[in-house]
């Protein structure tokens, strides 16, 4: 499902990150911990195929992604990877429903309204579908982000600090949702965080 081997990345010459190897099966969850500046987000970006590693191998769904060109990477990402960014980014002109369907559209898939309603129901967003995203609370926006990441039934879900802006109660809820939703679609879940509250919850951890 997800196998990395001696991934390395450097922004300059003197600042190289060497990342530990990762091996993850479907429905498994991995917590990547570390302080600021240890390359957590960089590793997430590499796993999300948004940046190319300097060296090493990254295999997702039996595909060696380091050999793909940028158009192939874009397609591969849209098809296999759901990303939940630290900040809730949306297309602000569109309402919640259209922001969800946008994932289908940009991933070159048929717009799946049934899936949208199912996800909205299970994430408690159903009454908000017609709302503008800016009108939602932080917790609601986070749930829309999760729903959007699931719209294309990805094989891997990557979450970057998904709980850092949330209070304890919402943190617990979001963690629950991530885990159950990832299980529901049979995806592997990678959470990058420094949130202490998640440490006790997920046992499979690596620290950078």
């Amino acid at each position: 499902m997800l196998i990395t081997n001696s991934l390395a990345f450097s922004y300059g010459n003197n600042n190289q990150f060497d990342f530990p190897n990762i091996k993850l099966k479907p429905k498994e969850t991995l917590l990547i911990l570390g302080n600021s500046g240890t390359g957590k987000t960089t590793l997430l970006n590499i796993l999300a195929l948004l940046i190319q590693p300097k060296s090493g191998s990254l295999i997702i769904e039996e595909t060696e992604t380091t050999g793909l060109n940028s158009a192939e990477l874009t397609n591969f990402r849209a098809k296999n990877i759901g990303i939940i960014f630290q900040k809730p980014y949306f297309v602000n002109a569109l309402n919640v429903a259209d922001n969800l369907l946008l994932a289908n559209y940009l991933g070159n898939k048929a717009l799946d309204k049934g899936k949208m309603h199912a996800l909205a129901n299970s994430l408690g967003l159903h009454d908000l579908l017609r709302n503008k995203v800016q009108e939602l609370s932080g917790g609601e926006q986070q749930r829309v982000s999760i729903a959007r990441a699931l719209m294309n039934t990805p094989k891997i879900i990557l979450a970057d600090e998904p709980t850092s802006a949330l209070d304890d109660e919402n943190c617990e809820k979001v963690a629950d949702l991530l885990e159950t939703q990832a299980n529901a679609v049979g995806a592997a879940l990678v959470i990058v965080t420094h949130d202490q509250r998640l440490k006790s919850r997920f046992s499979n951890q690596i620290t950078l």
Binding site: T41, L50, I51, A78, Q86, Y89, A93, L101, L106
Partner: protein, 397 residues
């Protein structure tokens, strides 16, 4: 979905979009209005001029003579005796002399005394009735007949002068014998009769205080002259201006001069309108440029979700194009509204209508210009899509 995003984005910043469309609309409508009025005036003017090489009449402004004689819009310069035309009628270089006598009106429509070939000159056709044969019989142009709501066998009395509120010639009444078909020329607005009718109406009044014979008093207002050969053009006008009490004016030259004067004003307006269009382009540019800055995260997000850069590029381009095209369409609509208003005004004061339905050739060029403004204004901001670094933009806190 793409169109939906484009539309929602335009709608999300209504005021900016409104400003872009408004500016484009103003630029387009001003230019289109000028083009329409200019072209239609010019075509009406040239249609009426066709075939008439020279106008002779009383001394005065040559342009006034042309405007009154050929176009029936200005006051005549004065009268000339009919017998002064005789040497012209006998001149071998001259093909035809069409004498015109005016000075009366019926409800604002000019009554013009002339000879039958004047109708032939315009290839006039009858909608009903026949031509004038006897004195006090009139043939009415299509537009005048419609406005006056008269039909064959109606009678009316004329008023003195060219304005509605003239003194009435009470005792002599004209009889309508023919209605003309629409001719798209000056005769549409005229009431035509033979020269004797005009003389009869006026002789009667004058004879109250003067007991003189008629033939010396047979005055006309002007005469339209057609030459047999261009040689006439070289010699006759000068001879008339130097050796007689009449003046000769050449329609082609006077109308060219008129349009040159009008052209200066039109050009100034066109320059202004182009400047407005340009400002509209700049406003589209600023709107999209700011939009791209504000929506950098959105764009990076869409790219990370599998959006192709070319797709997002076209999305932004489309926003610019939709703004400028809707500006164009609104501009054309506004210009048609303006034409309609102008047409009503001109119709009231000059019995001269403008067509609002035709799309002028220049307006197609305007569409291209509007598209180019939209494309260029959207191009630079849209190219910004290709400079977005997804991971850096999204990781930026």
């Amino acid at each position: 979905m793409l169109l939906k995003i484009v539309w929602k984005n335009i709608w999300a910043k209504k005021l900016n979009s409104f400003l872009c469309v408004l500016l484009m609309m103003f630029g387009i409508s001003i230019i289109s209005l000028l083009i329409n009025i200019g072209n239609q005036l010019q075509s009406k003017f040239s249609k009426n001029i066709s075939g008439i090489d020279m106008v002779v009449g009383a001394k005065g402004s040559p342009l006034q003579l042309i405007l009154s004689g050929v176009y029936q819009i200005d006051a005549p310069t004065g009268n000339i005796p009919m017998k002064e035309l005789e040497p012209l009628q006998n001149n071998p270089l001259i093909k035809q002399v069409l004498p015109l006598s005016m000075g009366d009106n019926y409800q604002g429509f000019r009554i013009v005394g002339t000879i039958y070939p004047y109708l032939k000159h315009f290839s006039a056709d009858y909608a009903s009735g026949r031509g004038f044969k006897n004195t006090m019989e009139v043939v009415i142009g299509a537009n005048a007949a419609k406005k006056l709501n008269v039909k064959v066998d109606d009678t009316f009395t004329s008023s003195h002068g060219l304005e509605k509120e003239g003194e009435k010639h009470g005792d002599k009444s004209y009889k309508v014998v023919g209605i003309l078909k629409y001719n798209n020329s000056v005769i549409d607005n005229l009431i035509l009769c033979n020269l004797a009718s005009i003389w009869e109406v006026h002789e009667h009044e004058e004879s109250n205080h003067e007991e003189e014979t008629h033939s010396e008093d047979q005055n006309i207002t002007c005469a339209l002259i057609k030459f047999r050969s261009p040689l006439g053009l070289m010699t006759i006008p000068r001879t008339i201006n130097q050796n007689t009490n009449m003046q000769a004016a050449l329609p082609a030259i006077e109308i060219n001069r008129l349009f040159e004067h009008m052209g200066i004003g039109m050009d100034a307006f066109k320059a202004l309108a182009l400047a407005i269009m340009l400002i509209s382009g700049i406003s589209v540019f600023v709107t999209l440029y700011n939009a791209l800055k504000e929506r950098k995260y959105e764009m990076a997000l869409m790219l990370s979700m599998g959006g192709k850069r070319i797709k997002l590029f076209f999305m932004l381009m489309l926003e610019g194009l939709i703004l400028s095209i809707s500006g164009y369409i609104l501009g054309i609509l506004v210009s048609r509204l303006g034409l309609w208003l102008a047409s009503r005004m001109l119709d009231e004061s000059f019995n001269f209508g403008l067509d609002q339905t035709v799309l002028q050739k220049e307006e197609i060029y305007l569409l291209i210009a509007a598209l180019l403004v939209g494309i260029f204004a959207a191009l630079i901001p849209s190219l910004g899509i290709y400079r977005i670094n997804i991971s850096k933009t999204l990781a930026n806190d």
